[in-house]
Symmetry: C2
Subunit: 228 residues, 2 copies
DNA sequence: TCGCCGTGAATCCTATAGGATCTACGATAA
DNA sequence: TTATCGTAGATCCTATAGGATTCACGGCGA
């Protein structure tokens, strides 16, 4: 956020093990190294990461309250199961309430500085060369950053926080895992970004709504083609 | 939630200290026993509650990720400051995106069973006799339950969770602290509930929108009358 | 008077130990 | 074969100890 001010952070961002463990476990869950629904042993994880159980407990408590793990007292933690089709649809319904509105607001408030931010993010969305995992992961990271940026550019921080707390991109990434679809999103992002930059609220709102609907129906629903 | 099924819970809800500490601290923060912005010492709290620091750390990690406390590494936790006027307005803007929609959906989906739930909740909203703290707290509890219930009756659990995670009623309660305003809300709740029960989506949506706007402008804004 | 510095106490962070509870698995009985 | 029971091991939960860092405060110099 304010890290670009200078190369001299007044507080060198102190090192705490719990934060590292948190990030590590989050990545493990995201990449299916810890499979959906699998147990996450406190002592086992502590041995694996070569730390004591205390910071592990702290990290898992955070993950649980964010909905990435679930806890049963005296029985331990589990990685959250994958989103069901119903949960996915509900999640997109929520996003439809929030994000088109955010895109509209961003277009209304656009200025020289925020436009530059938006252009920079779009420039980072490199066209993937193949269909390998690293490309998919990079694209997913851009997708997450793009939507977070728009939530921020809406100017309403409470909305941004509520959106971030869904961790929707993490959940969707887990669904898509080992899949090679979804690259069309960048084109739709460009449409949204252009509408915002030229200050067109109606176009921005509609483009976002369309984008979400395409993402849900044309891309994600294929995941459930022969199941629930 | 499902506690009314029988007097024989298969898992007797095991006892974990971290959960108790969590609830205790949450109450302390809500009631200004721990003042907004005040430090929350891990070891100090452990001594006070006569438990070890380990469960305290777990409870505070949860509270931080829920936005009720903030942490600076190696420096400790603090209770979140009161909502600024700007944050309050942004929070209500968020609620306007979610709750009128939820009220509409609830009206569309209403049935015999959910109508009974709604009536039961309205019956619990006893008219306060005086302006003392206990009455205020009971009213605030009803307010929180009412809005949570509507979020649930929308049928979209992701929306409900996103709403719950704002902890808006806890934050508002802290603002209102030692205040005696806000009893008009029950009347507006009744209007909303009646619209939902008679299956009138438009009326329900509008009543909720009006209710939120009244709450914000006529009641809450008086808190900031001579400050930011 | 004001600001800087050093020391002691308090606090945070991590690791470890041990009791409580749960899980896995094999033995016994129907 | 199937179900029940009991034991061993693993895991969770809590408490405690000690090193690392920060905070509080009094002394020193300008």
């Amino acid at each position: 956020m304010s890290d670009h001010t200078a190369a001299m952070p007044h507080r060198p961002r102190r090192h705490v093990l719990a934060d590292e463990v948190y990030e590590t476990v989050k990545t493990l869950v995201m990449d299916h190294v810890v499979r959906p629904g699998a147990r996450i042993s406190i002592d086992g994880l502590a041995r694996e990461l070569d730390v004591s159980p205390t910071p592990v407990r702290e990290a898992l408590a955070r993950l649980e309250s964010e909905g990435l793990a679930s806890k049963e007292p005296l029985r331990g933690y589990r990685a959250t199961p994958l989103l069901s089709r119903r949960e996915l649809d509900e999640l997109y319904e929520f996003r439809q309430l929030i994000e088109p509105w955010a895109a509209r607001r961003a277009a209304e408030k656009i200025d020289r500085h925020t436009a530059a931010e938006l252009r920079a993010e779009m420039a980072s969305a490199v066209a993937p060369k193949g269909t390998d995992y690293r490309d998919y992961r990079a694209l997913a990271a851009h997708d997450a950053r793009f939507h977070s940026l728009l939530a921020r550019l809406s100017g309403n921080d409470q909305v941004r926080i509520a959106f971030e707390r869904t961790h929707c991109h993490l959940h969707i990434f887990r669904l898509y895992f080992a899949s090679d679809i979804g690259f069309e999103a960048v084109t739709e992002h460009r449409t949204i970004a252009e509408a915002i930059i030229r200050g067109a609220p109606d176009a921005a709102e509609e483009a976002m709504s369309t984008h979400l609907d395409n993402s849900r129906t044309q891309r994600l629903h294929t995941v459930y083609r022969d199941s629930s």
